[in-house]
Symmetry: C2
Subunit: 162 residues, 2 copies
């Protein structure tokens, strides 16, 4: 039972490997939160070309928002060339934003978890950690002025970790 169309590859996930969440306190528009979450997943390799995004009506049901809001988010992602919507089938990933190999990313993730545990132990709560990270992240890239140790230029959107 193959799900994939006659395309060159197969899917593997009928249900989406991503689950949207909303943070009403962030102040970020709903449609932008959806956009950011897809972009984040693309950067971290959680989503790859061919993967299917949640169906519009599913997102509507799970988040209790308006179809137009989801549509606006998907439209924005499609404009960027990241996804494509196919009526009757669903919405699918086209490109990737991943920059780092999986193993390296796993290492970074693990050490970051260690730091988080340490921050938690020190008494910082989620807001405090977010504040500290946001502060250092800003300082870090302010000091660099855009020049990374590697190469790479991208000045897309930035998302406050708050």
């Amino acid at each position: 039972m193959t799900i994939g169309q006659g395309d060159s590859e197969q899917v593997g996930f009928q249900v989406s490997p991503i689950e949207f969440r909303l943070d009403p306190a962030s102040g970020v528009p709903t449609y932008l939160q959806l956009v950011h979450q897809v972009e984040h997943a693309l950067r971290l390799g959680y989503l790859k070309p061919g993967d299917q995004l949640p169906k519009v009506r599913d997102v509507v049901a799970s988040l209790a928002i308006n179809p137009n809001t989801v549509s606006k988010a998907y439209r924005e992602l499609e404009t960027k060339g990241l996804i494509v919507g196919r009526p009757g089938q669903g919405t699918f990933i086209l490109a990737t934003l991943s920059q780092v190999a999986l193993p390296e990313l796993t290492g970074l993730r693990r050490s970051l978890r260690g730091w988080l545990a340490k921050a938690d132990t020190a008494g910082l709560d989620e807001s405090g950690i977010a504040a500290l990270v946001a502060s250092e992240l800003r300082d870090f890239y302010e000091r660099l002025g855009g020049s990374s140790t590697r190469s790479g230029a991208a000045e897309d959107e930035t998302e406050g970790v708050a």
Copy 2:
């Protein structure tokens, strides 16, 4: 009498120890960005009770925004009991949100900087780092459900990168 503890000297800073910044791409309303920045500074100890915030008209001048927007931010902070506005004088910090002693926070900051450098070297750009941090931060507190693990002191430096 005014609220100032001492009456002759309490200053030390005519100019505020905080400087507002705006990120138009974040989607966060301007007035909320100001609110968040003050709260962050309070959590990290950059601002303490008695400190003076930038004058409304100064913020207006430096950020090129409307006085009403700054006023809305300050009003929100005043409602929360964090600051107080005194006509003719300025706006001042009332409470603190700091949760961690300075030395511990400094340690956390240092190891975080190390991690950031490592992530940068690995090829992650600002957006990628923000994505990774946001992802792990969410996972971390999702797993805890709100219960912190603070018991002992943190002594081990986060792995790698000194």
